[in-house]
């Protein structure tokens, strides 16, 4: 059975801290890994990763994939209260629907 495990499940940090969110997976026929940010409503797309070792970056957020060790990390530097959200990791597996992890709830306090 394909599975995606995110850790930690929740995290509280102070503004300015750097956080690392983890996503490990066990799937057959891996195609890509995606990160989404979910605030109060709809998840919004952050990154799609298909190749090992190539960092994707958007402002203070960055992510990298390790296809040998089957995990990805999402880094957020200089966190702000607006970064508070649930971060979802999903793996695209050939011929099956996306497999989502349970998410990491990040709370950034001033």
């Amino acid at each position: 059975e394909d599975k995606v495990v995110q850790s930690p499940l929740s995290l509280v940090v102070h503004e300015g801290d750097t956080v690392t969110l983890n996503c490990s997976y066990e799937v057959t026929n891996f195609r890509s890994l995606l990160w989404y940010k979910q605030e109060k409503k709809a998840p919004t797309f952050l990154f799609m990763l298909t190749s090992s070792g190539i960092e994707k970056k958007s402002g203070r957020l960055s992510s990298i994939l390790d296809k040998k060790e089957l995990f990805s990390i999402l880094n957020i530097t200089a966190t702000q209260t607006g970064d508070s959200a649930v971060y979802l990791c999903a793996v695209d597996v050939r011929n099956t629907p996306l497999v989502f992890g349970k998410g990491t709830r990040l709370s950034v306090i001033a």
């Binding site: 995606v4 499940l9 195609r31 890509s32 995606l34 989404y36 409503k41 709809a42 998840p43 919004t44 797309f45 799609m48 979802l88 999903a90 695209d92 629907p97 996306l98 989502f100 992890g101 349970k102 998410g103």
Partner: protein, 116 residues
Amino acid sequence: NAGVTQTPKFRILKIGQSMTLQCTQDMNHNYMYWYRQDPGMGLKLIYYSVGAGITDKGEVPNGYNVSRSTTEDFPLRLELAAPSQTSVYFCASSYLPQGMGNSPLHFGNGTRLTVT
């Protein structure tokens, strides 16, 4: 550009009632999906559609039905509501099959359903 629009935003149903959750997208996406999200859990796929007239079951289809008569609309029907269907429901669409290429899912804002 409206993107993916879901209605209603909230609904309370009694056990055994039926209702339809509406979803429409204006991006001309062929692929549409219905997910449910329970507290502390990830998104679970209920049904999906690869184009008008074609639907298929996802991971948790029991208790639900869908139809796809047009590219734009993908309604989700609950026939006999049960407390286990209390959840937040998200509709999504994509240009390519979910996650492929540079085609992430576009989500609606969700429908919070409570069955009592």
